[in-house]
Point group: C2
């Protein structure tokens, strides 16, 4: 019963119910628009650093160090500690403070950095003897990792001495301290987080020596590697990176091979961004110099996720330079899209009290304030008290996202 | 400071602290053992089905149907409903019951199946008019998916008519009903779950037409595709499949390229098994005829995860034939391993009241009872009230898992 004619008839009737499909230009025209955007984006100058702003005296950032640098930094530190003990000054670490009072949003850099406050952690004090011991132990474990050149998870670290650490929260916190003490990123320590993200589309890169072609990864895509230091040789003919909040939208785009129609790289962390996906996105942006367009839910949580990719989380602000991707554009679903694309009332959800509070809090955040377009959208969201998921577009047909909404957004360069 | 000599010295001192390393035979000898196991496993006869047991009259199972079969089954059903209405019998669906009173554990098959009870869902009754309407809507949406040959998530389905479904729980439940009504698996309906699992090692397969070589997937591995119907052409020279509960252990084995030393396929769903990973494991087991060895935490939850892979979850018992992988072996970490491998006391965790209750409940389950070795292990766990994670092995060094524990387990064929 299912002959080709019927299939075509079905897709025709379908197009009638897909609003705005008639506004779409030809793919060639849209590609032309994207090419001009992409070339203007790649010509931007080198990103600013703390040093450029003459802030490096009062602010602190860590950097990626090679394994042998981490190793020799630890060895120098231990030597210095030994001298300190021998000269009668006792055994203590000087640890940069990671508390929120020591954090600063730098508008020029558009991210949170650490200020220069430090605390002393002496061994000979009842309140800090345990933490000092844990710090020494973590330093010794990291030194081992350098010697062996292997990666482990935070959970592995914890299990090397459960008696001392008592609780993984303690070893995790000291691990962040050790990053700050050594002035290097957590990935330089060879301690990695579980992987969560996937990538598909016009990207070729090497993962631990294997060349991966992400146009040939079927529908499942390639799992983003947990250790960014073994990722390299990125090549791409994409015109932009499409950052997707959730996997349902990712699956739709991967199955439709959206990246073949509009050359792009599609990446998702399946919800809250993990460190591996943030590092991977940053590396793509820096090496390939492509604009990053974000497709998130139209709710405060979607914007929050965007901000973690863009400006970093407060918890790891010491490493914001490596973890954050500057200049991410908010493509959709934006609060103004709900009316613009006539999303049916029943597909919009009322915001909870907590949602509204989160939305209002976001309006106070520096990274939102500096973008007037975002402020306007967020104000609209809080005013209408309505939110919507990317999936709400399914009310116009399952493929409305890939066939109409996204192409039209690209054609109109409708991002903020 | 970090020259080669120091590295070697370090690894020597390390081996002294790795218990049982001296018991290890050469890799060639272990490989010989594995080959004999693998060949005996692949010679097993065709797995039993309900029909073999003459239970098909009283038990019900769904099967994988092609897209065009699903389409014509829906069309026949609608035709039949029309006749029913025209003949004055009214509009109603006959829906197989999925309640636990209608479930049966079949020891010969080692999985849960549905019995033959059905309920009638009439349109002309106030208590079922909504559910009947939802059923008709879901049937129509699935029919659309057949015509277009695309895959969507449950969330996409929900958003096509939020007003009708009200809550995703309702559309999800009816989707399972529709599987049972049509007698086909949920993946045959082209409705897929988000992907979660990853695979790495000695496996080549096609994902949506792309050939994937899992020995060349770096450390990140290949994301398991959400739609099993586009997975095929599996080839492998592996001797076994290593099913890993959590990603920390997976990362260790992937980085160490354990599959090069002992040819195997390593797969994990990163915790609770999802449908895509279960289907993928089943397909590997069936096509490649390899033994499946499971590496899970030594706690009731680890065994529970093993049971979901092996015997299915109660919620989807109508599809247990397609979702479950028979004859999974419990490699470790087993309760008896804690003493056998001298896991330090501080790396063992006390079981909570809830853990102990779950453990005792498991002892009552048919799938545990039928394996005396499992009963013994579980009794030991409940008696000692101790649990341990795979990561507890890190107390002997980060690579103890891949360098000593697993090779020794394989050498001794120490699985149940």
């Amino acid at each position: 019963m299912a002959d080709k004619k019927r299939r075509r008839a079905d897709s025709d009737s379908d197009s009638a119910s897909q609003p705005f499909k008639n506004l779409l230009k030809s793919d060639a025209q849209i590609l032309q628009i994207l090419k001009s955007v992409s070339s203007s984006s790649s010509s931007t100058s080198k990103p600013l650093t703390l040093a450029d702003l003459a802030l490096s005296a009062t602010c602190r950032e860590v950097s990626d160090l090679s394994l042998s640098s981490v190793q020799s930094t630890i060895e120098s530190l231990v030597l210095q500690l030994t001298h300190q003990i021998l000269s009668g000054q006792g055994f203590s670490f000087t640890v940069p403070s990671r508390s929120s009072s020591n954090q600063l949003y730098v508008p020029e850099l558009d991210r949170i950095v650490l200020k220069d406050k430090s605390t002393v952690r002496p061994f000979s004090h009842i309140s800090s003897v345990r933490k000092t011991t844990i710090t020494a132990k973590i330093l010794s474990l990291v030194h081992q990792l350098c010697l062996k050149n292997i990666h482990v998870t935070k959970r592995d670290l914890f299990y090397t001495d459960v008696k001392l650490f008592q609780d993984q929260v303690q070893s995790d916190a000291v691990l962040d301290d050790v990053s700050c003490i050594l002035g290097c990123t957590r990935s330089s320590l060879n301690v990695i987080a579980a992987e969560k993200g996937v990538v598909v589309g016009r990207l070729i890169f090497s993962d631990n020596g294997d060349m991966i072609d992400c146009t040939k990864m079927g529908m499942g895509g390639k799992a983003i590697p947990p250790n960014i230091d073994r990722v390299g040789d990125m090549q791409s003919d994409a015109l932009f990176i499409l950052l997707v909040e959730k996997d349902a939208a990712y699956i739709r785009l991967a199955e439709d091979r959206f990246y073949n129609r509009f050359p792009c790289i599609i990446v998702t962390a399946k919800g809250q961004p993990d460190v591996a996906t943030r590092l991977f996105l940053k590396k793509m942006k820096m090496e390939l110099k492509l604009p990053v367009l974000a497709l998130v839910d139209s709710d405060p949580y979607g914007l929050k996720i965007l901000s973690v990719y863009g400006c970093g989380s407060k918890n790891m602000s010491y490493d914001s330079a490596n973890l954050t991707t500057p200049d991410i554009k908010w493509l959709g679903i934006r609060p103004s899209d709900l009316d613009k694309y006539k999303i049916p009332e029943q597909c919009r959800l009322p915001m909870t009290e907590q949602d509204i509070k989160t939305g209002k809090d976001l309006l106070e955040e520096d990274f939102v304030k500096k973008n007037p377009g975002w402020v306007e959208e967020l104000n609209l969201m809080v005013k209408t008290k309505q939110k919507a998921e990317i999936q709400a577009l399914s009310s116009f047909g399952f493929q409305y996202l890939s066939e109409v909404y996204l192409p039209l957004k690209l054609q109109q360069q409708d991002w903020l």
